[in-house]
Symmetry: C2
Subunit: 200 residues, 2 copies
DNA sequence: CTCCCATGTGAATCGTGATTCACAATTCAC
DNA sequence: GTGAATTGTGAATCACGATTCACATGGGAG
């Protein structure tokens, strides 16, 4: 059975998405050109019509991730002007994003994707630091407007914030998904809020 | 040049340690039987005198990690009876442990080691949950003795605690080590303490 | 309608890394 | 000191996965 012919732009997106899905379900190790090809209904060599190499494909996948993360922050920023509320919504949305795309933590933590090409290593950094900085901006604004404690380094607040998400993910992975992440996040949020919000 | 003949118990430990080091410096992906062999001064096939397979070796490495993590908690527990102080010391010691053994986060987060054999997957879980539970015990004791807020789920406190370490590690990796982790940890600790300690 | 180019296919190549095996050297019990 | 067991070696073997290539085909421009 021959696969339908598609324009390379469409195929590229389709293939990158397939890779993302596969990483999410089976992990980065298990990601082979063959598996990706099968998922989009192509033959392995067909992938090379659209990507120069596996490395190239991974870069595209990484871009996809970066786009989604930043989308998240941006939309939260649009939804509410209040820093505390922004963070709360962001937390919940992030938990959801990571649950749906388990590939994200895998890629971010994977040292394979991290150490392979110098180029991609730099891009991983760019994606993550970019994301950190966006959150940091929210914190800074909140401090300026007197909504958050101003006597702490914004970066520290960001770390604490990301920490909630990260450790929740670890717990999730380790328990095989038998924790109610949303509930945990809500509980953690209360602690976080107590720590960083401006005492009235 | 022929390698000195050593008893298999000694070799096993030596080899597992070499693997741990290599994972720390070059990542799990780069870990080959050949590289481990070279590091201990053996020839690749020599490894198989002491381990049934690469998988077997990874399991041993994992055990090493588990032992070190638990050691950490235990010694902290012996050093001071105060929950808050225990957590503070544990935080600092953990940062140091992870800095020295970068292999630990790599192994813990790696889905390769995670998804390969069912057996090892279970052991990873055991190691991590075991560790979580130890910290959780400390928190519970602190709550009982009125040192920590008792109106929060201990697990939530643990997650927050681990979160500090995790996100600090991410920052560290991403910035290529150009942050003062200890200083960040201290700052984060202040926030954490504010959130969880019992209001007088 | 037809030609050309982009896209898809299947077979072959190629390197890598784990694993095995027959043989060598070393150690230890006796 | 000698022999068996243990440990180390080097040369295969083996599987797997990425990549290439010559060929097939479909779809759109003219």
């Amino acid at each position: 059975m021959r696969a339908q012919k598609l324009q390379t732009e469409i195929r590229r997106e389709q293939i990158a998405q397939a890779a993302l899905d596969l990483i999410g379900t089976h992990g980065l190790q298990a990601l082979s050109i063959a598996s990706v090809a099968e998922r989009v209904g192509l033959v392995p060599s067909g992938i090379y019509r659209h990507f120069k190499s596996k490395d190239d494909l991974l870069s595209a996948t990484l871009n996809l991730i970066g786009k989604r993360l930043l989308n998240n922050v941006e939309s939260v920023r649009r939804e509410t002007p209040d820093a505390l509320e922004r963070l709360r919504v962001l937390l919940m949305r992030e938990i959801r994003l990571l649950l749906e795309n388990q590939a994200i933590p895998r890629v971010v933590f994977s040292e394979s994707i991290f150490s392979d090409s110098v180029d991609r290593k730099a891009r991983v950094r760019a994606v993550i630091t970019g994301y950190f900085q966006e959150v940091e901006k929210i914190v800074q604004e909140g401090q300026r407007k007197g909504r958050l404690r101003a006597d702490v380094d914004p970066l520290t607040v960001v770390l604490m914030f990301k920490g909630m998400v990260l450790s929740a993910m670890v717990l999730w992975k380790v328990t095989g998904g038998s924790v109610d992440l949303v509930r945990q996040a809500e509980a953690a949020w209360e602690l976080f809020r107590a720590a960083v919000s401006k005492a009235p």
